[in-house]
Subunit: 168 residues, 2 copies
Amino acid sequence: MFYGVVSQCAQSLKNLETCLEKAELHAAAKKFDVNVLMMSRLAPDQHHFIYQVQSACDYVKAAAAWLSGQAPPKHEDSEQTIGEVRERIKKTIAFVDGVEEAQYADASDRKITLSWAPGKVIRGVDYLLQVTVPNTYFHITTAYSILRHNGVDVGKFDYLGTMNFVDR
Amino acid sequence: MFYGVVSQCAQSLKNLETCLEKAELHAAAKKFDVNVLMMSRLAPDQHHFIYQVQSACDYVKAAAAWLSGQAPPKHEDSEQTIGEVRERIKKTIAFVDGVEEAQYADASDRKITLSWAPGKVIRGVDYLLQVTVPNTYFHITTAYSILRHNGVDVGKFDYLGTMNFVDR
């Protein structure tokens, strides 16, 4: 389960590539700098697009690391352009892809510590379902919504990406 | 896994209750009808708040049903008020809570048919990870974002709800 869920979170992150391409097309058509979209928000006191992607990346990276018994690699939050956002997604996926299914063998009972819950731990299975999944999809969807709200022609199938349908 | 993931999706839906309460407080403080928020959107060609909740409910209900070998109960999309939205969430959760863990025993290999993919099927495990989870969190997050964008004082911990942290 752990491998499957984390891999799908990584795939959903990768699906943002299509949204980034559409953001570039929209900015070019409207003749504005695409990096304006990278700094856009849904509310003045909510984080901007780049932060949403950084955060989604970090939840997926952290899950692949902690659930396989490793400390996550440090990725600095220094992105300022759409090109840097793409690189952040790529290095996150490269890390997650490097963790093999067997490395999640003990994931369920691992005790995970989170910086925002000092003195507490959460079991691997609860971490996956209550922290990784809701946070990853929260930040990916918020990134998507920032583009959607600003007129980029993204649709839910861009967000969903490829699904393993087979002929009946 | 199936029981755990579907139960967490239902819990995340239930967490919207806090957002609904905050929507009511905000509308009362600003002296407008809270049902204005129920009809609000992030983009003119995206669906409104009530649709987002209906859709999240339907993905969770359908997962509990199809993955346990049942046809989902029909819930009409007739909600127009915040009270009706609450009822929709409640009846969805009541249905999901009625499905016991053992009923998901054959979930992984079930072949699921979706109305928007005629002639195709998707295996239970792919349906859960590629359809249920991304769609459920997409619509819950979008509902949350509609309130956030309109000034309601919701925060990510309202969305996340209770997590099973224990003392270290």
